[in-house]
Amino acid sequence: MENKVDWKKYLIVFFITAGLFLIAGYLSNYFSDKKIAQLENIQDDIAIDILSSEAQFALLQDLSCKTLSGSVFSGELRELGTKIEWGEKNLGLTSDVSYLKKYYSLLQIKDYLLMKKISERCGVQSAFILYFYTTAENCSECEKQSLVLSALRDKYPELRVYSFDFSTELSAVEAMLDIYKIEDTKLPALIIDEELLTGFHPIEELDSIVQKSFKLQEKPIETKTE
């Protein structure tokens, strides 16, 4: 029996397979771009909200504080943060994502400053935590600290946590690092009520600090009706 090998077929199948790989790569890029676009949209919305609150604040200087109860819903900023974090791990478009991350850091700083001004002017109790972590090296303490802060945020809806990647190359972030004298050897770092805490802090400790500093109320249980 003669064993024939049809090389042409092997080659054709190779090209079809390569073609499918190209299509898969193209689809993957297409969806990644869509996701980046979605992030950009959220950021633009948040930017407009912050700008608008700033403008409102400037206009209404000494008028009622009621209308200025909050700039952006912190939920939106948080959602953006989660999506950027996921994007960093999964989208693989590092330049696009790191650009978005810078923008996100800037939005957080603006929101923080505005909220601080509002709380001073209107005498509202502010509840902010500035959180510095790093992704440049493996920081297991940072991962644990993030989990703790997430849990705290769930517990106290009024608590705002602004998180900054130490390795973000942005002058505004670097300025904050300077002001609070944050060093990369002492991460994670937290600023609560102008006080610097370095290293990992467990949830019980932070919970009592947060309660003492800000006199926050726990999130009411939603099913409770009167």
Partner: protein, 414 residues
């Protein structure tokens, strides 16, 4: 390290897609040549055929097996049946006494020595030009033999013809899953048949020309997969193996995960070790598609599954560690992350789309295999059982076969 792992992953992915596309292109090339006959056919000449039935503790199934042979649409005087009790410890020997007065049946008893010893004993006694074996857990369709013999009549080069094996009367999810797998196998075998690249001549009812054994020697132990080894040996010697897709053989499939696991462990172990024994035929043009496609495709499957299992294990360990850290840091978290479902978080990496391609082609092979056997276009519902059972259990027997090969531990027959 991560980059290296991604590179290997996509290289294996490329090969996996390549294999499926190769099957599909072969299908497109040959789809008009797939012969499916209905009803009885007759031959101009009926050559003598001997069928050996090795029995080892088969008291429950042997009667049906022998009756299916006696009912074959083939002249009785041309068909000889040898029932060989391979040292059974149950009532097999007394059950087969029933056939001792049949003119074309002979019964023998020997000490237990394994299936290949039964076949070799049978081969020595054979006086007919053709010879086949039927495992005692299988039954043949009435028309199977005559349709297979028609291939020999039309193609003088054919040295062996293998039938379509169908799962007999599946009852539970494990057996229904296998039924689907046999459809895939029917499709794949038909394509390999067109390529002249069949790598196994299954125990249930492959018919050989006796001269194969005269020239190539008797069956070997071959890691308990003598039916694979003889096919490798035939391919190495350029003997043509045909596939007769409309000759149906119904085989009893393992009914429990444990039995299925044992059977598959034996098959995969046999594949790996026969391939190692015959490594010199690999990727050599003179051995045709068998050497360029079938065996490499099998090896790639073993590697791909091993790699994916490894990757999944690493991910699983990561996931568990993350959950433990989370539990230690913030306590038990009962909130369901599904609440925040968002299309944004769906994975859109290239491998996702390639996996869809692979699944689509596998599903096509199920549908077409079903069409070849049952005659209807339909997506069988038990494809769900198939994906459930095989995606969960197959990695285990595959890894066990690799492990046993590395440590030279031989799996038992059952």
């Amino acid at each position: 390290m991560l980059l290296f792992s991604s590179l290997i992953f996509y290289a294996l992915m490329f090969l996996a897609v390549y294999i499926q596309i190769f099957f599909f292109v072969t299908f497109l090339e040959n789809k008009n040549k797939i012969l499916i006959r209905h009803g009885k056919i007759s031959l101009n000449d009926y050559p003598g055929v001997t069928i050996i039935v090795p029995c080892w503790n088969e008291e429950k199934t042997i009667l049906k097996t022998v009756h299916s042979l006696l009912d074959l649409n083939y002249p009785k005087e041309k068909l000889k049946i040898l029932l060989v009790d391979d040292g059974s410890t149950d009532a097999t020997w007394s059950v087969i006494q029933k056939f001792k007065n049949y003119p074309n049946v002979e019964i023998f008893k020997k000490e237990n020595g394994g299936k290949y010893t039964v076949l070799n004993m049978g081969i020595e006694k054979i006086t007919t030009e053709f010879f086949g074996c039927l495992d005692a857990d299988s039954m043949v369709d009435e028309e199977a033999l005559v349709r297979m013999m028609d291939y020999f009549a039309k193609d003088k080069e054919a040295m062996a013809v293998t039938p379509s094996i169908v799962a007999n009367n599946p009852k539970n999810i494990i057996q229904n899953a296998q039924k689907i797998e046999y459809y895939i196998s029917v499709f794949a075998k038909r394509m390999l048949g067109f390529l002249g690249a069949i790598h196994v001549t299954p125990g249930p009812f492959t018919i050989f020309k006796k001269q194969v054994f005269n020239k190539l020697g008797p069956y070997r132990h071959a890691h308990n997969t003598e039916d694979m080894e003889i096919a490798y040996r035939m391919q190495k010697n350029h003997y043509k193996i045909e596939y007769c897709n409309d000759a149906y053989v119904y085989t009893n499939t393992p009914a429990t995960i444990k039995k299925l696991y044992r059977q598959r462990l034996r098959w995969i172990y046999g594949f790996i070790n026969n391939t190692i024994d015959y490594r010199d035929v690999l990727l050599k043009k003179k051995y045709g598609n068998f050497s360029m496609f079938t065996v490499p495709a099998g090896i790639i499957s073993v590697f791909t599954v091993s790699f994916i299992v490894g990757k999944l294990l690493v991910n699983l360990v990561d996931f568990i560690i993350h959950k433990i850290v989370k539990f230690q840091t913030v306590g038990l978290d009962l909130s369901l992350e599904v609440n925040n479902f968002d299309f944004y978080f769906l994975n859109a990496k290239p491998f996702v789309f390639l996996t869809v391609v692979i699944y689509a082609l596998v599903i096509f092979s199920v549908v077409f295999g079903h069409k070849m056997i049952e005659g209807k276009w339909k997506l069988p519902i038990h494809i769900i059982s198939f994906f459930m059972v095989f995606s969960v259990v197959a990695p285990f027997w595959l890894m066990a076969a690799v492990y046993n090969t590395l440590l030279s531990e031989k799996p038992a027959w059952r």
